[in-house]
Symmetry: C2
Subunit: 337 residues, 2 copies
Amino acid sequence: MTSMENRRVLLNARPIGVPGAEYFTVVSQPVDALKAGEFLVHNQFLSVDPAMRGWVNDTPNYLPPVAVGDVMRAFAVGKIVASNHRDYAVGEVVCGLFGWQRLTISNGDNVMRRVTDEDLSPSLALGILGLNGITAYFGLLDACDPQAGETVVVSTAAGAVGSCVGQIAKLHGCQTLGIAGGRDKVQQCITEFGYDQAIDYKNTGDLQAELGDKCPSGVNIYFDNTCGPISDAVFEHLALGARITVCGTAAIQEWSPLPVGPRVHRQLMVNRARMTGFLVLDYKQRYLEAVKHLADWLRKGQLVAREHVLADMDQAPGALQMLYRGENTGKLLIKVD
Amino acid sequence: MTSMENRRVLLNARPIGVPGAEYFTVVSQPVDALKAGEFLVHNQFLSVDPAMRGWVNDTPNYLPPVAVGDVMRAFAVGKIVASNHRDYAVGEVVCGLFGWQRLTISNGDNVMRRVTDEDLSPSLALGILGLNGITAYFGLLDACDPQAGETVVVSTAAGAVGSCVGQIAKLHGCQTLGIAGGRDKVQQCITEFGYDQAIDYKNTGDLQAELGDKCPSGVNIYFDNTCGPISDAVFEHLALGARITVCGTAAIQEWSPLPVGPRVHRQLMVNRARMTGFLVLDYKQRYLEAVKHLADWLRKGQLVAREHVLADMDQAPGALQMLYRGENTGKLLIKVD
């Protein structure tokens, strides 16, 4: 491939639910010439995130849906290889909403941040030093204010966000319980991410009863990445004054029409609990505060991150289904040559 | 009736849902002799509150269920007519959890507060200067932090709590919309309680559409006294950063098993909204702060309260069903001779 040849993953139809590989086409296109005020990023890693499912569905969201025919919206990290922009120099590493493509022309608007921690892999900027870690940091510390000794339950506990939440909670003196699917992930929760306890929701006879056994004083904080039956079971065990961060809804395939489930009002009222919808984009002004702490913990070995790297962009079209089926064993990334 | 003869409303069986008159028996009993450290209250008004439904159902709650055979738990206000207690003097007016009965022996533990505003009717201590008004005050101001210009929606808008919420919101410069059942109550919302707009949920073709028309910028604050379909419709119109106080669930008859409804997770997440379970008992240390402000507003005519007074204790057994059917036209009270 020549240096100016772009490979791009385009959305080719409007999916309902989690889009399979058939909704994407990988194409090769020459890259446009840079205009004044633009720079060219050669992406090294592309991100695969649960939020991307929402970005392609044609329902109200915090961003407009990706247009059919457009490159798939995604975070990526790469090196600037050409620049007509006074603030961005060749050689700088940046991450941002660069899309599922090899080369991205940017005017700076879609840059999330410069990546300056040269002792750490740039791929981390898409995971634990990117929105996943920042989500875990503010979604736990800012939205839930964890106190030492409190019981913190995390769903998708071995995932890119969840594994970080569990570790940060532990660093703050909490008792942690992870909920994950499958024996390997539960094992990973305990041995790799340091949860005090873990439950395999796919192989428990009665999730609600097991939660009761493992959280005898109730759940003080629930970091919810799933919604659905896992969330329903946790809500049966809320402690007085519980805080719930609603961060993701991985267990729900489709939101139009609204799916039904147990009404949470009385559980919230009886326990004077608080349920807060969380979106990391609201913390833009404070990203670097989180990155600084997360990088420090990483360097000290107090925080670990696992990555699952797909070797080629041809694997991008199937990556979202892989993620929603839970087949990845760490932050899911696509390596780009 | 002699002055020492008590009339009491006893719970005679364990109801499911809202208890009808058949679950209560009115009896006459002599009152016990006062022991040291006790005093006798002659109740003037007994309260009828939505929370009493929860107190008689045998499900987990913030108070143990009323035992079958016991006097029905209820708030009441009355005058001390005999005292062996050094801190409570004959002639003082007190309100507290004195039960549905004429005479109550107390050691002070079940006193909520002394009623010292002698220029105002003691009955107000059970409504707008009691838990209803205090609930409205903290449930709106503390849990939702209303800002001038925000849209505040209130369900059971003409009720004892709701009517006070709407007026306090208006005093804070908010746009208010009340949801109530029936033309009379909607009329009362506008003319008596000063709501900017009101919707009759019993006579609207499409509550969700009407809410959209009347709240074009969305709902910033929702004070929820109902749960159920009204709440579901409001949740479709949450504004960014919306705050919801879950204060009551009048529309739901039975919580065991949990009723189902639309899952709220995605609406909370997309709007970064916060849903908080509220119980006024958590504000015990701050009751007088609310009463002071509410009494000031009442005296200045900035706040109005309406009472619906049943003339005799024989009407107590049917009063909870009357309340849940929405047949009262103000704070529902029972007068005691």
